[in-house]
């Protein structure tokens, strides 16, 4: 059992990553067994369960922001990596071009189509659709309703007879001068209509994505096959536009910052991080606090460190030298997840947890097998 129990302050101090003017210090965590003599840092599920804490700041379908507190960077990063690379989504994988007389070449057009994010019924995407195996050279491809989603795009540009004379805007002068993602048509196959109909139909999340520009006489006629894939294969399968985290900033005002300096200090941070308060009588009366004789003056108070962008601007100015200590909490991860639309942004995170769990389970199996 633990022979030495560090103080709360000491534990707090250990949790802080130092943000200095030119360097970042104490980057790695130290709460592992054997690092501090006499202290016990053995792995304990109870401890972790107690420390872990999640707090949502924002939860919209396309953007989620939350704090994951009380875990190690390795775990937090694993979630991030899984979200980028391992969560399957549906994207255009194969394009069958019947006719393309536009100026945009077949490969480029296919590439553009591949990058368009799609949405569809959650149940169908999760439960119904399975992996598609890329056929070997001598194999026939297996396209079934449970592994392939068929889309088509069939656009022809024609003259607009109703266009005003002297019109120069091609979108008014011609029909289908611009081809958008909304022109893509989903063709349900087999049981797909059960899962992907009405609201749940497969459709581009952003219907206004420009695919190509056409002029009269030009045709794009193609069908597409969508399959499930993961971001590690191609970025188009990644369910997130951004999935990242930052550490919670800490700002410690060591010596009081007063008057004009306080205002300047506040300007060194984004709005709302530093508040200005009047020095109270009580504070001024306190000996050794640094407030003596400054009653009524403004002082800088840390209001909301989470909003700080850690620009380190305050460290640049001579007057704040030694008065402020910046840092970041090593176990407080503020996630920001932007979904491309196929998943809800918070669901991506939950899925990543499930993935990590599955990976751990598989690893366990391996280890068991290894020992056996």
């Amino acid at each position: 059992m633990s022979r030495v129990q560090p103080s709360i302050e000491e534990l707090e101090r250990r949790k802080v990553v130092g943000i200095n003017e030119w360097t970042v210090t104490d980057v790695t965590s130290t709460d592992f067994p054997g690092h501090y003599p006499g202290e016990d840092h053995a792995w304990d599920i109870e401890k972790i369960r107690d420390a872990l804490h999640i707090e949502f700041h924002q939860n919209d379908p396309l953007l989620a922001s939350f704090s994951l507190i009380g875990t190690d960077a390795s775990i937090a990063n694993a979630f991030r990596r899984i979200m980028i690379a391992d969560i399957p989504t549906l994207a255009v994988e194969t394009v069958f071009i019947n006719n393309n007389t536009s100026v945009i070449q077949d490969e480029v057009l296919s590439h553009r189509l591949g990058l368009i994010p799609f949405k569809g019924g959650r149940e169908g995407l999760d439960k119904f659709l399975k992996w598609w195996k890329k056929p070997e050279d001598d194999e026939d491809p297996s396209y079934f309703d449970y592994n392939t989603v068929k889309l088509s795009l069939n656009v022809e540009c024609t003259h607009n007879e109703d266009a005003a004379p002297g019109e120069t805007d091609p979108t008014k002068l011609y029909h289908h001068a611009h081809v958008y993602a909304r022109d893509i048509v989903y063709e349900p196959i087999g049981r797909q209509s059960q899962y992907f109909s009405g609201e749940n139909a497969i459709a581009p999340t952003n219907p206004d994505i420009l695919i190509a520009k056409l002029r009269p006489g030009q045709v794009i006629d193609l069908t597409m096959h969508m399959h499930k894939g993961v971001g590690s294969d191609h970025a188009k399968f990644s369910p997130v536009a951004t999935a990242s985290y930052r550490l919670m900033p800490t700002i410690n005002v060591l010596h009081p910052i007063l008057g004009a300096d306080a205002e300047k200090f506040a300007k060194c941070f984004p709005q709302g991080v530093i508040g200005l308060e009047k020095v109270t009588k009580k504070e001024a009366a306190q000996k050794g606090s640094g407030y003596e004789g400054h009653e009524g003056e403004l002082k800088a108070v840390v209001k909301d460190p989470m909003r700080d962008t850690v620009s380190r601007e305050c460290l640049r100015h001579e007057e704040f030298k030694g008065k402020v200590k910046l840092g970041r909490e090593r176990d407080h991860f503020i996630y920001q997840i932007e979904s491309t639309g196929q998943w809800d942004s918070d669901a991506i995170f939950l899925e990543s947890v499930a993935h990590l769990k599955e990976k751990a389970r598989r690893l366990e199996q391996q280890v068991v097998n290894m020992v056996r």
């Binding site: 970042v24 990063n77 991030r80 480029v108 962008t309």
Partner: protein, 1158 residues
């Protein structure tokens, strides 16, 4: 403001710092607007076009005028005169009366492998039966037309019209299209003609004044040399150098006193030095003009008289030495001084001036000329080059036409009168062929001058837009590349503003190949006559030099006015004269390209009107005040004035390099003092178009800018707006080109922002993974997935279907099938017509054009002389390892009526390991590793880099400009204001402001941010500099260079592996590698590399006679007894046999190094 649709409208609206039209104008800030105005009237390739126009409109007429008359030697009454010559507009060669179909576009020429040429017609007058007959518009020949020149259909076309021609609106023009290829005549740099250059030779202590005289008839060089205190005149036509006094005596019989006066004036120092030369004349007994002429005449080379010699050879009677001497002096020596009547005085003055310059240089070594001074150079442009060629060809044409005529008149009984129209057109084809051949091959042969230059023309590089543009401003020097001279290669101070200080290649051509700066103009010839009249009328104190004696000319305070280097008039008030002359020029009475400058060392005023001088415009400053006022700029903005208006109103003027020496130019308004005469329009114009792409070049180490100038031309990007309509041999395009985040004014002016070559990459400067050493880059895989650096490679495969004299012709065969009726694999991309299907993939070995040629190409086809009817397969196959798609198939006809088939293939490539990238600061690197997005570091905002660059690239390269570009780019992106992104030389946006923007948006002022490692999830221990930097993808790609071989083809003769990637060759273990292996003692490896893996063969050797046997039998000894087998390199065996075949006896004697222990 009215939309002008000429590509310049964008420049005239939103101004530098986001100013609106209503904002106040300050001349200090906005004077740069003169630059777009200048480029609008002059343009980057305008010098080529001006020069060509001058040739086509004027010079060609002069050439014909001086060769207008042909008289027959036999038929005395017959004469033929060319009264006029005109160049038409480009039209088809195969004439049709239907006018609209006769014109064609340059694009059609490119696609159909035709020549973009226009017919030349002449008006002639000749006699028939003693009557004068006038014929107009007789077709003479066809001449290639420069694109966008006055004769070109694209001349003056606006954007919409250019589109109708299928032409890129941003195409600069200024090149020719010969047989479908675009050819540029590079600007040639030369020492100026008809000017005296004085040089001192330190080794021999001699001083010489030389002049290259160039007239329409001949080109020759005359020297006046001071050797061992004696002055001599040297010329090619003279057997030996002639004492100068004898020459001066021969020129108009001057007395000794007059000669002394003419050379030395009243200066005793020069008189002392010159006196000895009179002894030279007395020594050989020359006292009179007659004796002098005789002395010279005897020393004139026989038959060396150029054009005159020919006639003399045949029938003219032998001339006396006096006549010879007179002829040489009048026509050959200093030939550009025309002799009117027999008045030799002007020539005497000229030669005396040369002597005087030599004496002065001998007295004061500082008074020699500098060959490398830009004012002593002339640039020869396409028009001049063509006129040299055309004149030569026209003279040949005239003589061959005359030959044709004489042949006709030689016939005793003629059936009809001589009609020259047919022969003119027929002989004229030689002119057509001659011009085409010269431009096609680049070999410029002018017989008259004995000129034979190679490499005058080059194929226009269409690698990128900027490569094509850079080629149009390129100047090649006449100096030999191999010579190790530093003078001509060094940056000359007089190059300021005229030639780009950065854009020159590295290596052997360094400093010899130069580029024009942004505002440079090259003059065309201005007529001397009117200028001559102005010289006298502008100032009363000017009198013709003819009226003066030497004393008066050289009196202190007297200035000789030289016109194009020739003494012409005398004045005692040079400053007043120059001021008045300039005033008249500023008022537009004298051409703005006539320059005048004073030279106090030689008491001379120099007026130059000749062609090829480099000049550039400046704002005139008078009495400490700039002539440019805000209201002028306002007029410019409103489009109510153009640059030429400013010129005629005396607000700006052109100064050439010589006149620049008389001025005091202020860089900005704040630098103006009372003495200032001119102000710079914009300092960044000392750079050219290519160097202008670099942001913050004034913060870079100078070689880095030079490197970027070389690399900018290799960057893949948009070539032209019509790039997908072109079928080029090799065409690279970027799939998603981007306008640079940080641009310069030059970028806007040359429209690089419309045809960019690169992408704005988010760069993070840190070390990562160890795969980034030695400038290697780390790329983000997700970025590549999303299209970063994706490029396309187009290749052309063309085939001409020939017709043979026997009536047979090439054909396109059908698809071949196997026994089951399936199309064979090789033809899987073919359609039934034997051509590849557009959109299909072709793999290595597959056929694209199934051409077949007849086996019988030589039989006459008459009666029984018929060859076989079979055809041989001559199909065009795709033979690159990586597959491609068929992009286009074109079938057309060439001018020779042959069908032509062109197939274009397309490859789309994403960046891969080893592909080359570069920023705009001479920092190139290859891709070292492509990393998954999740492994890359990310910032607080979730930003992940596209490229990670190793910080070791910075300290030694000192490319601070790159850091500034990154910072400026970042601020621009964050602020969302494109007006921040200006990085012009000497007027870039201050970086302090960028830092402020970053701080305002919550970033660190220095651009360094907190990053978290993507692998561990922990933060990085240092803040990392990051931001957008414009990266160019260079054309060097691994796919085109990758090569390996284990076994493969061998050369027939030596049986050694073939050489080179294209032939699947081996990699040579060379001599030096061999040396290493010998030194190391790796004998078995040597044996393997040089014999086993190369050309080892089993040979039979007879130990009896030492010769080769065959199958164990020796033919010489008729025995098998002593024949043994051994392995030796086939090349060695070959050598032995070749030596034997040359009657060198070779015997091989074998012995066992390690005999069997028996």
């Amino acid at each position: 403001m009215a939309a002008m649709d000429d590509g310049f409208e964008a420049l005239l609206e939103p101004f530098y710092n986001g100013k609106k039209l209503t904002d106040p104008i300050s001349t200090k800030e906005d004077k740069f607007q003169l630059l777009p105005a200048f480029l609008k009237v002059k343009g980057l390739v305008k010098q080529h076009i001006d020069s060509f126009d001058f040739f086509v409109n004027q010079e060609i007429k002069d050439i014909v005028r001086s060769n207008r008359l042909i008289k027959s030697d036999q038929e005395k009454e017959f004469w033929l005169e060319f009264t006029d010559i005109r160049v038409g507009r480009p039209c088809r060669n195969d004439n049709s009366d239907y006018e609209p179909r006769n014109t064609f576009s340059p694009q059609e020429c490119r696609l159909r492998d035709m020549t973009y040429a226009a017919p030349i017609v002449v008006d002639i007058t000749y006699t028939r039966d003693r009557k004068k007959i006038i014929r107009k518009n007789v077709p003479l020949c066809r001449i290639p037309i420069m694109l966008k020149s006055a004769k070109c259909w694209l001349n003056g076309a606006n954007n919409a019209e250019m589109e109708v021609f299928n032409e890129c609106p941003l195409d600069p023009g200024g090149y020719f299209i010969i047989n479908g290829t675009e050819k540029v005549i590079l600007i040639q740099e030369q020492l100026s003609k008809n000017r005296v250059i004085v040089e001192a030779d330190d080794k021999t202590g001699s001083v010489s004044a030389s002049v290259t005289s160039s007239t329409h008839e001949r080109k020759s060089k005359t020297y006046v040399v001071l050797k061992k205190e004696r002055i001599l005149l040297q010329h090619n036509v003279l057997i030996e150098a002639i004492p100068i006094v004898i020459v001066l005596k021969a020129l108009g019989g001057l007395s000794d006193y007059e000669i002394m006066e003419l050379v030395c004036g009243g200066d005793a120092r020069y008189q002392d030095d010159f006196l000895i030369n009179f002894d030279e004349a007395t020594k050989v007994g020359v006292y009179t003009q007659q004796q002098a002429l005789e002395y010279i005449g005897v020393r004139v080379k026989m038959g060396g008289g150029g054009g005159a010699g020919k006639g003399r050879f045949n029938n003219a009677p032998r001339r006396s030495p006096v006549e010879e001497g007179l002829d040489a002096l009048a026509n050959l020596i200093v030939a550009h001084i025309a002799i009117d009547g027999l008045d030799f005085y002007p020539k005497a003055i000229y030669i005396a001036m040369m002597v005087r310059r030599v004496l002065m240089a001998a007295q004061n070594p500082k008074l020699v000329d500098d060959r490398d001074f830009v004012g002593n150079k002339r640039l020869e442009l396409a028009g001049q080059m063509l006129s040299l060629l055309f004149e030569d060809l026209f003279k040949q044409f005239v003589s061959s036409l005359k030959g044709n005529m004489e042949n006709f008149f030689k016939k005793p009984n003629r059936t009809s009168a001589y009609d020259p129209v047919g022969p003119i057109s027929w002989q004229g084809t030689f002119i057509t062929a001659g011009v085409n051949r010269a431009i096609q091959s680049g070999n410029w042969t002018v017989r008259r001058f004995g000129m034979n230059k190679a490499g005058v023309t080059h194929v226009l590089s269409r690698l990128s837009y900027i490569a094509a543009l850079g080629m149009m401003t390129r100047i090649s020097s006449q100096f030999e590349k191999t010579r190790k001279v530093s003078g001509p290669r060094a940056l000359q101070p007089s190059q300021w503003g005229m030639l780009c200080t950065s854009d020159t290649p590295e290596g052997e051509a360094c400093g010899l190949v130069k580029n024009l700066a942004l505002m440079t103009h090259i003059t065309t010839n201005v007529e001397e006559g009117p200028v001559k009249r102005w010289i006298f009328s502008v100032d009363a104190g000017v009198e013709p030099i003819r009226n003066f004696s030497g004393t008066e000319m050289h009196r202190p305070g007297s200035y000789i006015i030289h016109l194009n280097g020739t003494p012409f008039a005398l004045t005692r008030y040079p400053k007043r004269f120059a001021a008045k002359f300039r005033t008249m020029r500023r008022r537009g009475w004298i051409s703005p390209f006539v320059s005048i400058n004073l030279n106090s060392h030689f008491s001379a005023v120099h007026i130059a009107t000749d062609e090829g001088r480099i000049c550039r415009p400046y704002i005139i400053v008078q009495d400490g005040k700039s002539k440019l006022r805000p209201e002028h700029l306002r007029l410019l903005q409103l489009g109510k004035a153009n640059f030429d208006d400013f010129l005629t109103h005396g607000i700006v003027e052109y100064l050439d390099v010589n006149e620049e020496n008389d001025t005091l130019v202020a860089l900005s308004e704040s630098d103006i003092t009372k003495l200032t005469t001119h102000m710079e329009i914009e300092p960044f114009t000392i750079l050219g178009a290519v160097a202008g792409l670099i942001p913050f070049p004034h913060h870079n180490q100078s070689p880095r800018n030079t490197y970027q100038c070389a690399m900018g031309k290799q960057a893949i990007g948009a070539i032209a707006h019509n790039q997908f309509n072109r079928i080029d041999t090799l065409l690279y395009t970027l799939v998603y080109p981007q306008r640079p985040m940080v641009i310069t004014k030059t970028i806007q002016l040359v429209h690089y922002d419309k045809l960019p070559a690169g992408q704005n990459a988010t760069v993070v400067v840190m070390s990562y993974s160890g795969y980034d050493i030695e400038d290697a880059l780390v790329l983000n895989k997700a970025s590549c997935d999303r299209g970063f650096g994706r490029c396309q490679v187009f290749r052309k495969y063309a085939v001409e279907l020939l017709k043979y004299p026997n009536g047979r012709r090439d054909r396109i065969g059908g698809v071949e099938q196997d026994e089951d009726g399936n199309i064979i694999a090789k033809h899987s991309a073919l359609e039934r017509d034997g051509l590849a299907i557009v959109g299909y993939q072709v793999r290595s070995g597959e056929t694209m054009i199934k051409k077949e040629t007849p086996l019988d190409q030589s039989s006459t086809g008459i009666a029984s002389d018929r060859g076989p009817d079979e055809f041989r397969d001559a199909s065009v196959n795709y033979r690159i390892a990586d597959p491609a798609y068929i992009d286009k198939v074109m079938i057309s006809q060439t001018e020779r009526d042959h069908a032509i088939v062109k197939v274009q293939t397309r490859q789309t490539r994403r960046p891969e390991l080893g592909d080359k990238f570069s920023s705009r600061h001479g920092q190139k690197g290859v891709v070292g590793i492509i990393v998954d997005q999740e492994d890359l570091p990310f910032s607080d905002t979730g930003l992940v880099p596209d490229i990670i660059m190793n910080p070791h690239g910075f300290p030694s390269r000192m490319t601070v400009g790159k850091l500034f570009e990154c910072l400026t780019g970042k601020a621009t992106v964050i602020e969302g204001n494109r007006d921040y992104g200006f990085g012009d030389a000497f007027r870039s946006h201050p970086v302090e402001e960028m830092g402020k923007v970053l701080v305002d948006h919550g970033f660190s002022w220095e651009g360094k941010d907190y990053f978290t490692s993507g692998i561990t999830g922990e933060s990085q221990e240092a803040y990392i500099f990051n931001g957008p930097i414009y990266y160019q993808r260079l054309k060097h790609m691994v796919q085109d260079k990758m090569h390996s071989r284990s076994r493969g083809p061998r050369a027939i003769l030596t049986r050694q592996p073939t050489e080179g990637r294209s032939k699947d060759g081996g990699l040579r273990l060379g001599e030096m590698e061999r040396d290493c292996l010998i030194a190391y003692g790796a004998s078995q490896l040597l044996l393997e590399r040089l014999m086993v893996s190369s050309d080892g063969t089993q040979v039979d050797i007879c130990q009896g006679c030492g010769l080769f046997g065959y199958k164990g039998y020796c033919q010489t000894c008729k025995s098998t007894r002593q024949v043994t087998q051994m392995t030796m390199p086939y090349a060695a065996k070959l050598l032995v046999q070749e030596l034997i075949s040359m009657n060198v006896g070779v015997r091989l004697q074998l012995e066992d190094k390690f005999p069997h222990p028996r």
